[in-house]
Amino acid sequence: MTLSVLSPGAETRPVESGQPLQVIDVLDNLRVALVWSGHAATVKFWPVLERTVEALLHPREVRRVNKPSTWNAASPEEIDDFAREIDYAIVGVGA
């Protein structure tokens, strides 16, 4: 006598059809978003990184996005809020 059982594992959320990976030839004079998760281990590092981005990449505009929660992902609305106004983004720091 055999035993038939159902799998408890779930289907994963369908991956949204995204754009292909984009690259930029020249970063100078572009608009950048610096999206910080606020993780405690990066409190000293992140401000230095922000300054260094400005010094080395010469952005025309810097959009600083400081998330209120390290662990909750930004909502689509929050991302839309800055996504239209930037050319590229640096996100950190994933714990």
Binding site: M1, T2, L3, S4, V5, L6, S7, P8, G9, A10, E11, T12, R13, V15, G18, Q19, P20, L21, Q22, V23, I24, D25, L27, A33, V35, S37, G38, H39, A40, A41, T42, V43, K44, F45, V48, L49, R51, T52, V53, L56, L57, P68, S69, T70, W71, N72, A73, A74, I79, A83, I86, D87, Y88, A89, I90, V91, G92, V93, G94, A95
Partner: protein, 458 residues
Amino acid sequence: MRDTLNILKRGIPVVGLVHEPFEKLARLQAAQLGVPEAPLLVYPQDLPDKDGPEVIETKAREVVTRAKAILRGASPGQIPEVALSAAEAASDYRHIQCSIDGECGLMSDVYTVADVEGFTTLTFEQGWTDGLPVLPPTEAGVRTMLDYLKRDPYDIIGVIPPGDGIATIEKIAINAVMAGCLPEYLPIIVAAIEAMLEPAFELNRVQCTTGGPAALAIISGPVVKALGLNYGPGVFSGNGARANATIGRAIKLALWNIGLGKPGQLSQATFGHPAGYGYVLAERPPDDDNPWEELHVSAGLSSSDSAITMFPAGSHLQIATGIGAKTFDDNIEVIADSICHLGNFYAATQKLVVVNPQAALAFHQAGWTKEMFRDALLERCLRSVGDLKHVGGVSTTLANHWTTLVDINDDNALVPAMLDARHLQILVSGGWASPSSPCLIIYSMHGEMVTKHFPFVV
């Protein structure tokens, strides 16, 4: 990680910074979310006390230079072996294809084994259990669950992080059968999933963080007696009550099998929580030595309602309060001192104090309401800035970190452990106590409890 991927999907060039110890987690999650080639930049974890300004400056220059190269199209680096295994692991999960099986009529894949031993072997091979053996989720068992609930098995309750598994009624029912639940428990488990998916609970943190919290399910209302939940002696431990053990177990299995919160994979819990196999607390009913307002009533529901409250529990501290043996003022002082230890004073966070019935009745008979008890603790749960400077910069970005609450240059200024009444929850449970009168303090990691009513007719 999710922010990086969500920006990427909008067609915006992006690079995500990841600390070295978390590379495996990041790459596995990227693969799980369908973007194994995510542009990640892995760098050594910061050591705030050891990395001086020059080290940090150098590291920042290296990171920005590498980020620039990635944004210009360079490979993020040779994909390490771990990334390949992550992708493979993800494909293992993804083998589960939804297709209506004519024989079964449910969406889930069907596995056939020779016997119970074969099933047990299968569960470990497939990663369906966290280590404890589980029961076979047969179609008949799952059908019995679904018939009781009378909901469409394909109804989606939500998407459980970090693996983004879709929590359908069917999948929740399967995990409930594996846990050994009775059908009457299923509405409670569904409500628990709904509660944990509220943003305030921060389920992604509970599932992933190094702090290793556990999801505590607090059940209150008429359902407690009706289902025979144990609210007496040994309420948290193995006490022989099926409802306590299996409801907690089903919630854990759902987080495991649907949410994929598995240590060493998508969970980075350093130690994990000893109640990780299942964590349930039933509140004493008003007619059985609970003189104080029930938890769900404090949350705005009626006493005739049945409810579950999910609490993101970090630590579980049993203390001897001496209630009944010392003055009430002494008792409050002992509890306040226990709440205020430095190991959990980085920020004002929600706490739950579980009072034994003997203690609650002693206070009640002396004229103390639950609100008076709570407010007395709130007044006492303070520490000076001078004390807290020992905890340094831990989690300084938390919204309620102590450095945001007072003048940090005034060593005598007093910092609250909780912000307000919402931050200090109290309930009565457990058995009759000795003169030591043990009580419990459970600390939130950062998120807050969420209460959900569920339909239950006694």
